[in-house]
C-alpha cells in the first residue's frame, strides 16, 4: 500500500475495491442524463412547434434558418474560446500575483481581481466596446477591430479576474507543508510555485475552470447587445425576416436548446470530475 502511494501519489486512496466501478458507473449515469436531456429538449421544441401552428410551416422555418443561426453560434464558441484562452493565461499570472511574497505585486493583484470580479459582465463589455479603438495601425496598415473581437476582449477581463480567484483558492488549498518542504530543499518562490504547487493545483482547478467556461459561453449572447453577429443576433434577424409572431416561442426555445446541449455536458462532466477528485 505504501509502495503504491509513493508511485501513484496521494490519490491512490480512491482505488479501494469498488471505488473504480462506482466512479465509472457515475460517469455512465451522467452520459445517460445528457442524452435524456437532449432528447427531452428536441421533443419539447418539436411539440411546441407543432402546437403553435397547425401547419408544418413553423418547423420548416426553423430548419430554413438553422444554418444562419449555426453560423452565429459558431461565433459564440469562437468568442468563448478566445476569452478562455487569454483569460486563463492572464488569470494564472494574476492569481500567482495575489499570493506573491512582495506587497508591491500582491496588493494590486488583489485589488484588480476584486474590482473586475465584482463588476457586471455587461458593464465591462460596454467598457471595452466603447473605449477600445475602432481601428489600429500596425506597420502603416489600418485594421478595423471587428465588434466580435472587441466583445471577446470584453469577456476576457472578467474571465481573468474569476480565474485568478480559482488559482488563488487552489494554491492556498495546497498544504503549507508542501511550501515548507520546497523551501527547505532550496527552491525559490517562483520555483516552488511553478514546479511544486501549480502542478498539484491543476486537478483542483479543472472543475471550477470548466464551470467558468460554461458561464462564459452563456455570457457570450451579451455580445448581441453591442452588435456582434452571434446566435442571438441572427435569431432576431431571422424573426424579423419571417415577421411571424407564432415563430417567436419555438425559435427562442430552439436557440435555448442549443446552448443547453453545449453547456449541459460540460456541467455534468465537471460535476463528475469534482466527485472523483473529492477528498473522502
Amino acid at each position: 500500500m505504501t509502495n503504491d502511494r509513493a508511485r501513484f501519489g496521494p490519490h491512490v486512496g480512491i482505488d479501494l475495491p469498488g471505488a473504480r466501478e462506482r466512479t465509472s458507473w457515475a460517469l455512465n449515469r451522467d452520459l445517460a442524463g445528457v442524452l435524456l436531456a437532449i432528447l427531452t429538449v428536441v421533443v419539447i421544441v418539436l411539440v411546441v412547434a407543432l402546437l403553435s401552428g397547425t401547419d408544418t410551416g413553423l418547423v420548416g422555418a426553423l430548419i430554413k434558418w438553422t444554418p444562419f443561426m449555426a453560423r452565429g453560434f459558431l461565433l459564440n464558441v469562437v468568442m468563448s474560446l478566445f476569452a478562455i484562452f487569454f483569460g486563463t493565461i492572464g488569470g494564472i499570472f494574476l492569481g500567482m500575483g495575489q499570493l506573491a511574497p512582495t506587497r508591491w505585486i500582491s496588493t494590486p493583484s488583489k485589488v484588480l481581481t476584486q474590482f473586475f470580479r465584482n463588476a457586471p459582465w455587461l458593464v465591462l463589455l460596454f467598457y471595452c466596446i466603447f473605449l477600445l479603438p475602432f481601428q489600429v495601425r500596425i506597420g502603416g496598415e489600418t485594421y478595423t477591430i471587428a465588434s466580435w473581437l472587441r466583445a471577446a476582449i470584453g469577456f476576457t477581463i472578467p474571465v481573468v479576474a474569476n480565474f485568478s480567484e480559482i488559482v488563488r483558492g487552489a494554491m492556498q488549498s495546497i498544504p503549507s507543508g508542501q511550501w515548507e518542504a520546497a523551501r527547505s530543499l532550496g527552491y525559490r518562490w517562483r520555483q516552488t510555485v511553478t514546479s511544486v504547487v501549480l502542478p498539484q493545483c491543476i486537478k483542483r482547478m479543472l472543475p471550477p475552470w470548466m464551470n467558468l467556461y460554461a458561464i462564459l459561453l452563456m455570457a457570450t449572447p451579451l455580445a448581441s447587445i453591442v452588435g456582434a453577429e452571434e446566435a442571438l443576433t441572427n435569431a432576431r434577424t431571422a424573426l424579423q425576416a419571417e415577421s411571424d409572431s407564432r415563430l417567436l416561442l419555438p425559435l427562442y426555445a430552439y436557440l435555448l436548446s442549443w446552448f443547453f446541449i453545449y453547456c449541459y455536458p460540460i456541467a455534468r462532466f465537471s460535476m463528475a470530475l469534482e466527485r472523483r477528485f473529492a477528498v473522502r
Binding site: 436531456a37 427531452t40 474590482f115 465584482n118 463588476a119 457586471p120 459582465w121 455587461l122 458593464v123 460596454f126 467598457y127 466603447f130 473605449l131 460554461a214 459561453l217 452563456m218 455570457a219 457570450t220 449572447p221 451579451l222 448581441s224 447587445i225 442571438l232 409572431s245 417567436l248 416561442l249 425559435l251 427562442y252 426555445a253 436557440l255 435555448l256 446552448f259 443547453f260 453547456c263 449541459y264 456541467a267
Partner: protein, 251 residues
Amino acid sequence: MDAITDFFRELHERSGINLTILYDPFDIERFFHGLLVTIELFLVSAVVSVIIGLIGAGCLTLPYRVPKAITRGYVAFFRNTPPLIQMYFFYFAIGALIPATKNAYGFPEELVDNLDWALIALSLYAGAFNIEIFRSGIEAIHRSIVEAAAVLGYSKVAAFVYVMVPLAWRISLPALCNNLIELLKTTTLAYAIGVPELLYVSNQIWSDNINTFEMMNVLLVVYLVLVGVVALAMHRWERALRLPGFGAARS
C-alpha cells in the same frame, strides 16, 4: 447642495470631466430612479428566488419521483442556458402570448410589463442556483441529527421545517451570498428588454451628454459599492447565525 452642483459644473468647464449626474437636476433624477429600479429588481428577485430555492430543495427531499424529476429538469435547464436568452424568451416569446389590456386612455397596456418579466426571469434564473445551494446544505447535515429528531418524535415534515431547514440555512449562507451577488450583477440584463435600471439610464445619459467614459467609471464604482453592501450585510448575517463548534474560530 448648491456648492456641490457648482463644484461639478465648474469641474466640467475647467477639466472637461462631465459628471452631469452630480449637477444636472434632470440627470440626477434619472440616475437616482435607475438606482432604485436596480435595487428593486435585486431585492424582489432575491426574495422570490430564495423561496423558489427552499421549495425546490424541499421537493428534492420528497420520496416521490415526479416532483424530483421536475425540479431536476428545471434546475438543469435554467443553469445551463444563457440568462439573456431566457429573458428574451420570457419577454418576447411568452410575453407575446399574453393578451394586452386597454388602459384608461384607450391605449394598449401590457398585463405583464417588461419590469415584471425581468423580475420573473431573474427570479427563476437565480432560483435554480438556490435550489442546488440549499440541496447541498441539506445533504451536509449529519444523518444522526435527522435520526435524533425522529427519535424525539418529530414527524418528517416537522423535522424538515424545525431541524433541517435552520441548519441547512446556516450551512448554505456563504454560497447563497455568492449567488445573490451574482444576481445583483445579472440585473443589468434587464437593460436588454428596456427596463430603466442603472445601466439603461446611464446609457441614456451618456447618449445625451457624450460623457461615455465618465458614466462608465461611475457605473463600475456604483456596482462595486452595491456588491460591497450586499457582501457586508450577508457576512454580518453569516456571523450572527454561525453555528458554534463549526468552521474557523470567531475572529
